[in-house]
Symmetry: C2
Subunit: 311 residues, 2 copies
Amino acid sequence: MKNIGLAIHGGAGTILRSMMTPGKQGAYENGLQSALDAGYKILESGGTSLDAVETAVKFLEDCPLFNAGRGSVFNHEGQHEMDAAIMNGADLAAGAVCSVKGIQNPVSLARAVMEKSEHVFLGSTGAEAFAKHLGFEILPDTYFHDDLRYEQWQEALKDDTIRLDHTERKFGTVGAVALDRHGNLAAATSTGGMTNKKFGRIGDSPVIGAGTYANDATCAVSCTGHGELFLRAVVAYDVSSLMAYKNLSLEEATHEVVMKKLVKIGGEGGLVAIDKAGNIALPFNSEGMYRAWKNKSGQAVLIYKDTDTKI
Amino acid sequence: MKNIGLAIHGGAGTILRSMMTPGKQGAYENGLQSALDAGYKILESGGTSLDAVETAVKFLEDCPLFNAGRGSVFNHEGQHEMDAAIMNGADLAAGAVCSVKGIQNPVSLARAVMEKSEHVFLGSTGAEAFAKHLGFEILPDTYFHDDLRYEQWQEALKDDTIRLDHTERKFGTVGAVALDRHGNLAAATSTGGMTNKKFGRIGDSPVIGAGTYANDATCAVSCTGHGELFLRAVVAYDVSSLMAYKNLSLEEATHEVVMKKLVKIGGEGGLVAIDKAGNIALPFNSEGMYRAWKNKSGQAVLIYKDTDTKI
């Protein structure tokens, strides 16, 4: 069988063992494992990398633990505004949505934008109208309600100032990258953004080249981190460019971008990436990153920094 | 005096001499010349590239001939939804807005996002709330009314199908890139998008790395073209990457991206770019591109393909 591989993430940031209970840790690990298994099964049975990343991300969107889909944080108005993107490395087709409400799986709406519209990027109420037009169900706010997220929002509201501050140093995003047996790469990313976010803030997740990118000639990348810095550094495409133009390996390119270039500008976070040979890299410069991977060499579900991530 | 330089564009596409009257051509040329002069004056008097590109783009936004600001086309709902971005090559600071209505100069709102928020990218009604918060005037739809644009919209409505089609092969965008005497580069882009656009479509203009990018180490780039293809090709950052990682010159890098890579995927359009030495490139693969440039070597205001654009 040809090489196949899948890597996923559920966000990066200040994730410390000291802040975790065994029960909570187990729940996160189960969530990651389920998403990994669901996506990998598709690859094993000869399915496409596009289906694998969409399926893995849908699992993470449906799990209330992760800040995407059902588990999306509350924005300043107490609503859940989500962003997502997907890209096909075979033909550079891409789809993305930003600031959408009431969509169970924004990653699937991003895929519909890619496959059923002539556009790449749809936003806000327009994207929701497109979803309705295609028969997507628009869910009530209650679907996205979670007591913990609600408390986080209430606390953020208390401290609220007129500045566009965010204080939580956890970057909730989910994402997946995959290589299928046809040799095609794909990437997908989805997020609920920042707690108490205002003014329609859009991060890197739905931006092709910043939070999400796939190209069969180089790699597939999905990012999680301080979105503003990732946007300014065009992170995902930078990894691809370093491979294409400087002949760096996936490991070298992702290390250069995450551990050097991002660190230099204070861009906290990480990414998951895979190349056409099935090599996987999961670098991050924050305390932790919820992540999992599987390929012919093995598999792992990981959270902390002190876990060996060398594959 | 150190090298300074400015290049601007007012959109690309099927712009043919046969479709132009002398009066119309003169009006376009005057609009470009005014914007060029206003921006260049700032550079000559020691001002920043950031001020120069913002000023030049504001001139183009205020001119009803160009599809940005006042001259923005009608969307499907008969409104004017605008996108803009600005980036400072000195520190990679960036600001962008998408799908904003009622703003006279979206480029100035993008600059406010960069300088007065902790964010890079704000969208839709949230971005408008941010504008109001800062004291930006919210203008009525009538400010953006133009009989020609209205007729274009009515015609587009007649042919309207359920598909996200666009038939006009003219990519209305305005943009500017500049080098100031401090050696700093900047880029800005602004657009009213596509006539009769639906579903909150966002193009490449406000996307850092796609339609707009500036980095003192390489170049400043502002694009105009079929936004979806420019998004998928991460055009502006690709030019920068080719210079940074393959040591191509500005001319070589822009030629590679616009005349080879974009042509290969059917990405019609062009860009204006400047490097730290003040070299300017204005390649386009469409029939024409409204464009103008000025540096120590001279200046020109150009529209058609058969005009010599070699500097």
